[in-house]
Symmetry: none
DNA sequence: GCAATCGTGTATATCAAATGTATAGCAAAG
DNA sequence: CTTTGCTATACATTTGATATACACGATTGC
């Protein structure tokens, strides 16, 4: 009998020479020895040679075949259904599946889930890394709408339900604000673009929502001036005048039920020139829906449509 | 009865041959198995064949149709209203919707044109700004495929035609390389991902193509080691062994016609373990198409499909 | 306007088949 | 003598199918 591991052997036969014990074959194919035996018993996927005392000995060809079957199986195909077909066909199916997957747009769910996991772990740097990766992978818009907003909503729910503490929520907020600040700066915008002033009124300290909107606006090529949080109406109006803002947007989350923000908004509306639209977004915005000269923003989609409507320059 | 996966079948019937289980069909169409069943039950969108125990088996044609319906549905059209119409009509609706959408958000053409303009102006920082804005707006993949590659091709043509000097081309190259380096670093990848070794062989000094491929690989969550340009085969092989690379990719543009790169590639293929695939991309890659154990990459799509096929870890 | 209705994605329960994993007893290898 | 591998059986998990029900936004009707 020909010795195993014969290096004088030509590479053609080499490929069919039984050499590997089940452990090695399983590991290379990405399976467990148990599964290898089960597949052989049930579907005869391969017929490895046997050693003198009955141990299976797999050839490189066997391993190739097993490896292909393993990938197709993990890819959603029932092993039993593909067990009987030729190597060439297996290869074709694999190529097909790979093509189909590559052509598909990347999954936003994965990014979302990872971000939520990182936020739960109270791990700022990790969260930042996950989020910045998402932005680059998906592009700003998809990121904002399909990753960041859902993540924030999820965290909000968990916080309401008492499953995460205030510290965790705060860490996440700060991290996300840093990322948004970077994003807004990085996206920049050429001078000559329509100018938008953004802020939150007195009594409102939550910046997150407005920053998300600001990022979307910058993406749509507005030149956004971010004034900050908790600003009195006069200052906002003064800044709008100074900047020659084409629109002013406030973010309001406050659920305190007090009348302060309402008075602020009414005063701001009085102070601003009529031709400058005043937009209000955030979960607390619906309280202003009947104020004249004020547009309430429902969500990001709506926001983009609105600012497009109010843009002084008409762009194709 | 005719066996499934009959490779003697002509490609025409192939398209209607039921081969795919519901999971694969759903994944390819971008839906869930539940939705597939609901659509079939309610609207008879497709009529998949059944296996011996009743499982649905979808043909490629079925999947095409489902995929179109899915895209239209996600685009806001009611499934029930489009369920009964012909494939041709579906296609028409899709292009219609795509056009409407393109009119709304800044298109990839805009980004491309701006980048080309900046490159023509010999303005590195401006080019960098335009490109990084594109990445953030569009996401890496779209950026690479629809902005960066066209820009580079355009510049190449202008250079060939003598309309831009070597200085201009060099400035652009350096700027783009900087951006890609930033991108690759920023995208990062968690340890545990499949490892890819990338380099250009001796005699090849153009890094751009490989870096684009590297960025795409990093986006697809490979851990890419970028060795650099102009490396002898032994060093690449040694690095591959040291890193435990799952695949090695070379970029070859050289049009010198000399035999040097060919010898290098052949030697590298000898030095690498057989199980490590050797991929070659770039405009000079086609010269290696008949080498055994070497895969020639046509374009980014093909590249992504290939690396996915060779990935040792299976991700849905 | 506002309420009733419809359309549509998703969840539940139940069943059967497919498939992965564990157990036990024995033989052989290191 | 411990580990590995073999067979055979049993068990558990997952998947797919059908049928029904629910939730929520959109549409329709008054």
């Amino acid at each position: 009998m020909r010795p195993l591991y014969d290096n004088a052997m030509d590479s053609e036969n080499m490929h069919h020479e039984p050499r590997h014990p089940i452990r090695v074959a399983a590991s290379r194919a990405g399976l467990t020895p148990e599964v290898l035996r089960a597949w052989e018993r049930r579907y005869d996927v391969v017929s490895p040679a046997r050693g003198d005392t009955g141990q299976r000995l797999y050839s490189d060809g066997d391993i190739d075949r097993l490896s292909m079957l393993a990938r197709l199986s993990h890819g959603g195909r029932a092993v039993g259904r593909i067990a009987g077909i030729s190597n060439g066909e297996l290869e074709r199916l694999l190529t097909e599946d790979a093509d189909a997957h590559a052509a598909r747009s990347p999954s936003t769910e994965t990014h979302r889930d990872r971000a939520i996991a990182a936020a739960r772990d109270l791990d700022g740097p990790a969260l930042y890394a996950v989020l910045s990766r998402s932005v680059l992978s998906l592009g700003v818009l998809q990121f904002l709408e399909q990753v960041l907003v859902p993540v924030i909503e999820e965290l909000g729910q968990e916080w309401h339900a008492g499953r995460v503490g205030i510290a965790r929520e705060h860490t996440a907020s700060v991290t996300i604000e840093q990322l948004l600040a970077w994003l807004i700066r990085e996206l920049g915008t050429a001078p000559g673009a329509p100018r938008m002033l953004m802020a939150t009124p007195s009594g409102e300290r939550h910046a997150l929502g407005s920053m998300i909107a600001a990022a979307a606006a910058v993406h749509d090529e507005w030149l956004v001036t971010w004034l900050g949080v908790d600003l009195p109406a006069e200052q906002i109006a003064a800044a709008a005048e100074r900047d020659g803002a084409h629109a002013v947007t406030l973010g309001v989350v406050a659920t305190c039920g007090c009348e302060a923000p309402r008075a602020e908004v009414e005063e701001l509306r009085r102070l601003l020139p009529v031709r400058v639209p005043l937009l209000i977004g955030g979960s607390g915005a619906s309280a202003f829906s009947e104020l004249p000269g004020v547009t309430v923003i429902r969500d990001l989609q709506h926001w983009r449509a609105q600012i497009r409507r109010h843009s002084p320059t008409i762009r194709s």
